[in-house]
Symmetry: C2
Subunit: 237 residues, 2 copies
């Protein structure tokens, strides 16, 4: 059983963020994703009770991720390697696109990705960009930051812009303070990654955004992937 982060696994295939919610919270969350496609690009949503996503019919969402997080009323209560014991007929699973997918394309195009080079997690920041609220879900957009030389920044826009299912083109480039980020050396999630003087910080909408909204909404039960332990789809990225 694989229990480690999935970065670099199954190159060329899309990886996905996972959010599982009870049926009576599912409409609000689906609407939140529909209204905020950059941070929450939906790859697939199951029927209530099904653990088989349409995009990977042989998968079992209860056991196929390396590690899960279980949240009750917005509090992290467990990090199991399976959620079979928690399964209920009213659970709806959401698969949301992940930046691991376009990072592989950046690397293939010769665009360096510093946090991968440094063996760190990507830097992530809460911004002052509000998501469009939907029912009980609201919150700020969370972004990931990659420092790039100008020519690489341009390439990264062209490359990531082709992948709407993994956050698409950047949402900001160049001025962290314009989106409410005071200090690039102090990310809200992930690790600090240095930005050199000849580089631009480039910001993409991040799949942590729906988790932040989830924690604020405090549903009685929510299951997500553990950080970096994504669902590997059968989809070409």
């Amino acid at each position: 059983m694989w229990t480690s982060p999935t970065a670099g696994l199954a190159p060329g295939y899309a990886q996905a963020n996972l959010v599982i919610l009870p049926r009576d919270w599912a409409f609000d969350f689906l609407l939140f994703c529909q209204r905020n496609p950059r941070p929450c690009p939906l790859i697939a949503v199951t029927e209530a009770g099904s653990w088989q996503p349409p995009v990977s019919p042989k998968a079992d969402l209860r056991t196929d991720l390396p590690k899960y997080r279980v949240w009750r009323e917005g509090q992290l209560v467990d990090e199991p390697n399976s959620v079979s014991h928690l399964w209920r007929d009213d659970l709806v699973s959401f698969l949301i696109g992940c930046s691991f997918t376009f990072e592989a394309d950046l690397l293939q195009a010769g665009v360096p990705v510093r946090h991968i080079e440094l063996g760190r997690n990507v830097s992530m920041f809460r911004t002052n960009i509000p998501c469009v609220p939907a029912g009980r879900f609201s919150g700020p957009m969370v972004v990931s930051m990659r420092p790039l030389k100008p020519a690489d920044a341009i390439r990264s826009v062209e490359i990531s812009g082709r992948f709407a299912a993994s956050h698409g083109a950047p949402v900001h480039i160049g001025f962290p303070d314009q989106i409410g980020i005071a200090d690039l050396n102090r990310p809200d999630y992930g690790d600090a990654v240095p930005v050199h003087a000849d580089e631009l910080p480039v910001f993409w909408a991040c799949g942590v955004t729906p988790q932040a909204a989830l924690l604020e909404a405090k549903p009685p039960l929510a299951i997500t992937h553990a950080p970096g332990c994504m669902f590997l789809t059968d989809l070409k990225g």
Copy 2:
């Protein structure tokens, strides 16, 4: 007879830079364009002596531009409204893509283009980026600059990147000094255009590049369009 700049005419159709050279200079220039596709995206090249470009078979390149420039040994000697009197059987015409084409797409996408708003010519700068030499032609890349807010800069990369025939995506963004530009307020060609504190200067390869290379190579005769007085093609932009 139309004798004014063509910006804004025939929206949706590609406009083109024109360069006309004697046959014995044509191979070098064609190779220069082939090796430098960002500043010199070739739309069409005629057979020697023909004034009918393949892309616009009803056109007459000797008379259809509002204004021409005639160069002898690298010196500007005339600005006529027709070059019929200069026509020779050995003249080859090159049509090169023009940024007017993607500017129309920027405006349609809601991305403001300041020099158009201000009624000025775009700012153009000689850079320290060398073109790949070809025969007797060499020289620095000339770029045009458009100041854009970060989100618009990102959109502009996505939009212009689709139009390889009109210079494609930007070649630089953010740091003028990295490409040898000392002062954005003192363009080498065109008009100064202010860059606000919350904006990034975005630089595209410019169709003036081949003219700069032409002047340095000093062919005995060259005919070009006059600044802003482009050839209107029958091609959808």
